[in-house]
């Protein structure tokens, strides 16, 4: 039994990270209706920047928040320079642009930092020793991940619910034309959406780097699982993204352990099988709203 609880905890920690990156994907999808294939690599690059700062002697939390702020501006710039000018062009064109973002950051990171894995430390002040509670080991770092995810969710919720900018962003996403009429600058709101998403992605990157190693491809697998989470929860639902992340995390952790056939190699297959199954019954994800098209 304690083995089971242990697995559930580990799965939840993975799931929190998937959920965080999925949240970034959802934020971009809500504001611009783009699935950003470059999200993971943007996060990877921000994590490398944080590593550089740490390497230069900046204290952990300083580097952590600096990287988040840099990522935020990186998101703004990418939207303004690469995505916004192509507004209104075919969906496929924009998919290619985001694949370009993917390739670009991946290659630049490899070029600057080389492929040699770097060690990214766990946050300062978090004990390395696990706590034992009734035969179950609780890793303090996992608790940190949950805490950061929770705080971030609350901040985002408060931002979208109680601030004027948040309201404007929701309006711009839901009714672009009407929002323009009441004086909201829709492009600016979209840009902000990209910035916030990039910041959330960077957080996911920096939280997952200590668990896996930091190398230019480390976000690729996480991105795939995050796509799965975002789709599972519904691409336009932030809560769905986090929920989807936890489900995907648990399913891969438990499935890998208890279904012999799956093992460690086929976890990703299991996650995807689950998603296709869910999509068959709810084509817009668990919490997504199906789009009604007028003919």
């Amino acid at each position: 039994m304690s083995d089971f609880i242990q697995l559930v905890l580990a799965g939840a920690a993975d799931g929190a990270i998937y959920g965080l990156l999925a949240l970034a994907l959802v934020l971009i999808y809500r504001s611009t209706h783009i699935v950003n294939f470059g999200q993971g690599e943007m996060a990877m690059f921000a994590t490398y920047l944080a590593w550089s700062l740490l390497d230069a002697g900046v204290p952990f939390w300083g580097a952590f928040f600096a990287a988040i702020v840099i990522a935020f501006f990186m998101g703004l710039i990418i939207h303004r320079v690469l995505v916004h000018p192509l507004e209104g062009s075919p969906e496929l064109t924009i998919v290619i642009i985001t694949l370009g973002i993917y390739l670009f950051f991946n290659s630049i990171a490899l070029w600057i930092y080389s492929g040699v894995p770097k060690i990214f430390p766990i946050p300062a002040g978090v004990p390395r020793q696990s706590w034992e509670v009734g035969g179950v080991f609780i890793v303090p770092y996992h608790v940190t991940i949950f805490a950061i995810l929770f705080v971030l969710m609350m901040l985002l919720f408060a931002f979208f619910r109680f601030t004027k900018v948040g309201l404007a962003m929701r309006a711009a996403a839901a009714q672009p034309l009407s929002s323009t009429l009441v004086g909201i600058s829709v492009p600016t709101m979209m840009m902000l959406g990209w910035g916030i998403a990039a910041a959330a992605g960077a957080t996911a990157g920096m939280l997952s780097a200590p668990i896996v190693v930091l190398e230019p491809n480390f976000m690729a697998t996480i991105l795939i699982f995050s796509f799965a989470s975002a789709v599972l929860g519904g691409l336009d639902s932030p809560v769905g993204a986090v929920l989807g992340g936890f489900i995907v995390g648990e399913v891969s952790a438990l499935g890998g352990r208890y279904i012999d056939f799956i093992g460690n190699d086929l976890q990703i297959v299991l996650a995807f099988a689950l998603i296709v199954l869910v999509l068959l019954f709810r084509p817009a994800g668990l919490l997504g709203r199906p789009q009604v098209v007028r003919v």
Binding site: L103, N106, S107, L279
Partner: protein, 430 residues
């Protein structure tokens, strides 16, 4: 000064491209020297002048030639439908001839080898399928690489690993198997739209390699299945295996192009376009949306499967490493860059998929993927409808009449008022 201001820069950008490209190319030698002599940061950018110049000249030439063709041939084609069909046939025949005789003159192109061209033709086959699927029914599939892999493994397993069927038979079985699989995958895909479908198909691309590793007894696991020297061609071809595979790929790609072209210009094509533009309206008109969509999924998968089988035969190997999700993404990018609802665009897309990594590596060894990314992004900026879209646009511009100079300010107002009426008439005749 007045003259410079009156030139229509935006519409005639390929002229600008030609001039700037020629200048960059002319100065690329001295700039390279300068790069070699200085250590200043960013001086490496100087060495980019040559490649950028060549690229600009290439597209400038394409633009100018298209306009020239539109002005001369376009007139003849517009006279009657027979003329037009004749010229389209002639164009296709010329393209085919160019490819048939390619083995004799391919070495004038940089990077080209017969082997790479053979593989490029296999990408063309996959891309024709994507064209059909995405361009004509609007279903995005990021999973064609999975069918490509299944095709390759079908050949390897059926002929060399588990059973020992003649390889030619396996080559024909592969598209049948992938076609059926594609049809089956198409059924659940009916419920998914846009990004959901894209991600569900991406799942296929991602899981194929782990699955191949897992079923070791069939697929040879991580090591894969080697077929070196085991493929025996009929004795007449035995000494010219590379030519044999080139022409086989060319023949197959040509047949696929022909089939798709004919299908698209008939009843089925109109039904598919109706589905892409408005599914509900199409079904209200009596189009069996589900049947068409799943069938197209099956056909696209069969094309990819056949390409994969030929590919495995050419490289004589099938292993999980060569079927990573990157394959799916690369062909998808090639399809979009070529122009997604266009049959000839597939040819450009296939060549692009094969040769762009070489070109990028030539520009910068250290960050070749970054160069590739920049090329992709610039491409999508300049040509939103892909290469084929660009040619079509330039062609229409050429047909309407090239305007090098803007009319003088005094006359312009009168012309603008008349513009809607005059713009409507030429487009009506096409």
């Amino acid at each position: 000064m007045e003259l410079v201001r009156r030139i229509e820069w935006r519409r005639n950008w390929f002229l600008v491209g030609l001039i700037v490209g020629a200048l960059l190319y002319a100065f690329s030698g001295p700039l390279d020297d300068l790069n070699a002599r200085t250590d200043a940061p960013g001086s490496g950018l100087l060495s980019l002048a040559g490649p950028i110049g060549v690229g600009l000249i290439f597209f400038g030439l394409v633009g100018v030639l298209t306009i020239a063709a539109a002005q001369t041939l376009g007139r003849i084609a517009a006279k009657s439908a027979t003329n037009r069909r004749l010229m389209q046939g002639l164009g296709a025949a010329l393209l085919l001839l160019a490819f048939i005789f390619l083995p004799w003159y391919y070495d004038i192109f940089p990077y080209a080898t017969l082997y790479k061209l053979t593989i490029a033709l296999q990408w063309v086959m996959v891309i024709i399928g994507i064209n059909l699927l995405t361009g004509y029914t609007g279903q995005i599939s990021l999973g064609q690489g999975a069918f490509f892999a299944i095709g390759g493994y079908t050949l390897a397993i059926a002929s060399f690993h588990e059973w020992s069927l003649p390889w030619a038979v396996s080559l024909l079985i592969a598209p049948v198997i992938t076609g059926i699989l594609g049809f089956l995958v198409g059924i659940p895909s009916l419920r998914l739209k846009g990004p959901y479908l894209a991600l569900a198909t991406l799942a296929l691309a991602v899981i194929i390699a782990p699955i191949a590793k897992r079923f070791e007894e069939f697929t040879g696991g991580v090591q894969g299945i080697a077929m070196f020297g085991k493929i025996r061609l009929w004795s007449i071809f035995a000494d010219h295996a590379d030519y044999f595979w080139y022409y086989l790929s060319l023949g197959a790609a040509a047949v696929m192009l022909l089939v798709v072209w004919n299908v698209m210009h008939g009843r089925i094509g109109r039904a598919l376009i109706a589905i892409r533009d408005n599914e509900i309206a199409a079904s209200a008109m009596g189009v069996n949306v589900a049947l068409y969509k799943t069938t197209v999924f099956g056909i696209a998968a069969a094309f990819a499967g056949f390409a994969g089988a030929v590919n495995a035969a050419v490289i004589q190997f099938a292993s999980p490493d060569q079927y990573s999700s990157l394959v799916s993404i690369r062909v998808f990018v090639g399809a979009v860059i070529g122009g997604v609802a266009s049959v000839p665009g597939a040819v450009f897309g296939g060549l692009f998929t094969q040769f762009i990594p070489d070109i990028a590596a030539d520009v910068s060894k250290a960050a070749s993927d970054a160069v590739q990314a920049v090329i992709l992004i610039v491409f999508m900026y300049a040509m939103r409808g892909g290469f084929a879209g660009f040619v079509v646009q330039t062609w229409h511009y050429g047909r309407r009449g090239v305007q090098l100079l803007r009319p003088p300010a005094a006359r312009r107002q009168g012309q603008e008022a008349a513009a809607p009426a005059s713009a409507a008439s030429p487009s009506g005749s096409e």
